[in-house]
């Protein structure tokens, strides 16, 4: 069962990612990214990360991507015109990425090849909101506070940047 779910949603994620790269229209890319996020959320659930899966759904898919779509609609961004500049990227890009992929895969296999299998719910509830919150507010309290400050700064920056008149 785990395997089926994994393969289904992994395939979904990869498919959506590919479509993100290939689609020429931003909205299409955004929707496929949402697809990726959704399927990743399911995979998180498989990995026992209930809280993080929901956070993925709420924060990423629910808020950030809405922002993206919002902006795309606002700017009424159309499809990309064909004909890339910077030709050399075409040639070095693809092989480079394939090599990179291969290397990572090689390392993963050599390092983690023979690790245990993922069984849903086999581990204790380390991913439950309770435990995540516990370590978030004890061990990682300082980073948490710092992030809140970061968010505040981001809000200010966004406001300053997106003001109507730059005076």
């Amino acid at each position: 069962m785990d395997a089926i779910l994994f393969f289904v949603f992994a395939a979904l994620a990869v498919g959506c990612a590919v479509s993100l790269v290939l689609q020429s229209h931003p909205i299409a890319s955004a929707l496929s990214l949402i697809g990726v996020m959704g399927s990743l959320g399911v995979l998180y659930l498989l990995l026992g990360g209930e809280f993080i899966a929901m956070a993925q759904l709420i924060v990423y898919a629910g808020a950030i991507m809405v922002l993206f779509i919002f902006v795309i609609m606002l700017l009424n961004a159309g499809a990309e015109p064909p004909g890339p500049k910077a030709k050399y990227l075409k040639f070095i890009g693809a092989p480079l990425l394939i090599v990179l992929m291969g290397l990572i895969g090689y390392f993963v296999q050599t390092q983690m090849g023979a690790t245990e299998v993922v069984k849903f719910g086999s581990k204790s509830d380390f991913g439950s909101p309770a435990s995540v919150g516990m370590s978030l507010f004890t061990q990682y309290l300082l980073p948490f506070e710092v992030t809140s400050v970061l968010i505040l700064i981001a809000i200010l920056g966004a406001i300053v940047l997106a003001r109507k008149e730059i005076d």
């Binding site: 990227l89 070095i92 990425l97 090599v99 990179l100 290397l103 090689y106 390392f107 050599t110």
Partner: protein, 614 residues
């Protein structure tokens, strides 16, 4: 017993008044300022009722402040017999003076600022008294210095006030410098700053073996004490400090802050006991200060200046007491002095208030009828400071002089002579102010009760304080009662009487005698009147060379030349590198990304080759 509440309460008062006081009405500000101090006084009372440990101090450790290696300094407060006395003096007298200030400052601007500073001072002073290690004490030490600076310069619109503040601050720096050096030595040598541990180790060191080190530490501490407690050679700031409002002079520059040095030395008596040389120095400094300050006090014409110099000289007494090993007597005098000197200043303030700002003795006179409360209370204070029998000053001064007699006889005689002079100049001031006929042109009016009631309380204390609180017995319950030497007492009392009588004769009966004397010994008079030209000497010897040196060498030479040059040089080099590296900035983001990917590939390959992944 939650000692931390004692200093925190005034601090809260400070925060409230300092932050929002501008919008508050005066009653609110009074309530906050006085109320907070009253609360902490009550808390002190509660702690006292809870019982004061006789031998081992009660220590509360709150949290570790500094931890570097095995050297740690905690924020710890302690409570024992010694600082219970100090706590009562600080909070009690402080409370009275707060109440008094409500009346005195009622016409002043910056009302909330004044009370905020006053509360802040209480906070630091209490921290100083409660601190259980040298560093906490030092925090209080510096804090009270800051507050004294702020309050001396309270009327910052007048230049002399600002200058006086700066002077106090800078002169204190010298003392603090000595204090910090002493702390460094202690930390370096004993590896701790905790009073208990330090004194244990200090006691453990035999005198002959420890002499060098301990003497150095103690002398540095003495330097610090001379700075804070206005002793030779660092006393010059205190008379100028009278530029501040009178309650400030009473609270900070008479009752509490200037006695911090005495408290600090007493606190570390175990260390001083093993450093006889330092003690000797302390005694001599004290004695000299007492004497010279008294001589200067004789010729001052500003009522507050007179009392300022008498403060210096009384502090000298305390140091003398400490120096001859009679710590408890010193603390006793500290307390009684807090009573009658605060009273003297508050009374002077009341006079000044009555004459709407007039401080010159020459403009007073004959106020006896006009402001009776002030007159009578001030008389009590005068008797106390003159050592009139059974007043508070009598007991403490007797104790000190007795100890001095056992130590060195000549110290006793000098002390007695100084006592006589003290009585003389204090009563000179009082007679000039209250007897004869009125020479001023303001219309004197008695101060409101909010000012006179603290005066009365303090008068009662300075009369009965010696009988009520037997500090030596409190501090050393099991010390042998020193034998009563009647002869000495008689001599001391006699000198006091002599001073008073002489003052009465010169300034009430035969008022043109002083002028004659001044003319006959005009040279001496001028020298003394100008305070032995000490300030001028300091200026020409220390201040001017410093200024010149800083301007020419430090600013023009080092700052402008070396530092700026270096900075600019760095800038130029960076520019040069930038020129070279600029080609990489193609401005094509995707190109950058490709390069990053390429780099990561290289890194991965490298890891693979090295086998670092295994």
């Amino acid at each position: 017993m939650q000692l931390w509440l004692i200093p925190i309460l005034p601090f809260i008062g400070f925060l409230i008044n300092g932050l929002f006081g501008r919008r508050f009405s005066k009653p609110v500000i009074n309530a906050v300022a006085v109320g907070s101090v009253a609360l902490s006084f009550l808390w002190v009372l509660k702690c006292f009722m809870a019982g004061v440990p006789a031998e081992e101090p009660h220590i509360e450790r709150y949290f570790t402040w500094i931890a570097s290696g095995d050297f740690t300094v905690g924020v710890d407060f302690m409570f024992d017999r010694l600082n219970s006395v100090m706590l009562f003096v600080v909070t009690g007298v402080g409370l009275l003076i707060h109440i008094y200030a409500v009346g005195y400052m009622s016409h002043e601007g910056g009302y909330y600022r004044f009370f905020a500073y006053l509360n802040l001072f209480m906070f630091f002073m209490l921290t100083l008294v409660l601190g259980a290690n040298f560093l906490i004490l030092f925090i209080g030490w510096e804090g009270v210095g800051l507050c004294s600076y702020l309050l001396i310069g309270f009327y910052f619109l007048e230049k002399f006030a600002g200058d006086a503040g700066k002077k106090a601050f800078i002169v204190n720096r010298v003392g603090d410098f000595g204090f910090s050096l002493a702390m460094f030595l202690i930390a370096n040598h004993f590896g701790t700053l905790d009073f208990g541990a330090v004194f244990e180790k200090a006691k453990a060191m035999p005198v002959e073996h420890s002499a060098g080190f301990l003497t150095a530490v103690c002398l540095l501490l003495v330097l610090g004490a001379t700075g804070k407690s206005a002793q030779i050679p660092l006393y010059t700031w205190l008379p100028d400090a009278m530029a501040g409002p009178t309650p400030v002079s009473a609270l900070i520059h008479a009752a509490t802050m200037v006695t911090a040095g005495v408290y600090m030395v007493t606190r570390s008596q175990l260390m001083f006991n093993n450093a006889p040389i330092a003690l000797e120095v302390l005694a001599i400094i004290g004695l000299a200060t007492a004497f010279f300050a008294a001589t200067i006090g004789i010729c001052q014409t500003d009522i507050k200046k007179v009392f300022a110099y008498s403060t210096v000289s009384q502090l000298g007494y305390m140091f003398l007491g400490l120096g001859v090993g009679a710590y408890s007597a010193g603390v006793w005098h500290l307390m009684t002095h807090a009573f009658f000197k605060a009273l003297l200043f508050l009374g002077a303030g009341s006079v000044i208030h009555a004459l709407s700002g007039e401080q010159e003795l020459s403009q007073m006179g004959g106020l006896r009828k006009k402001i009776p409360y002030t007159f009578w209370t001030l008389m009590c204070a005068g008797l106390a400071i003159a050592g009139f029998p059974l007043t508070s000053g009598y007991f403490s001064k007797e104790a000190i002089l007795g100890a001095a007699f056992e130590h060195h006889e000549w110290m006793f005689w000098v002390g007695v002579f100084t006592a006589g002079m003290t009585a003389f100049y204090v009563f000179r001031a009082l007679f000039l102010a209250f007897f004869g006929e009125y020479r001023g042109h303001h219309h004197p009016h008695e101060s409101p009760f909010v000012m006179t009631i603290p005066l009365m309380v303090l008068a009662a204390l300075s009369l009965a304080g010696g009988l009520l609180f037997n500090i030596p017995h409190w501090l050393e319950p099991n010390a042998p009662p020193e034998h009563e030497d009647l002869k000495l007492k008689i001599i001391a009392i006699g000198s006091g009487f002599l001073g008073i009588v002489l003052a009465y004769y010169m300034y009430v009966v035969n008022t043109n005698l002083p002028v004659k004397i001044a003319n006959t010994f005009s040279a001496v008079y001028r020298v003394i009147y100008n305070k032995y030209f000490v300030d001028e000497a300091y200026d020409s010897v220390i201040v001017h060379p410093l200024e010149e040196g800083s301007r020419v060498l430090l600013w023009k030479g080092i700052d402008a030349g070396m530092i700026d040059g270096t900075v600019n040089g760095v800038g130029h080099t960076a520019r040069g590198f930038g020129k070279i590296l600029r080609w990489a900035q193609a401005g094509n983001i995707r190109g950058y990304a490709a390069w990053v990917a390429f780099g990561s590939v290289l890194v991965l390959i490298a890891i693979g080759l090295v086998g670092g992944s295994k």
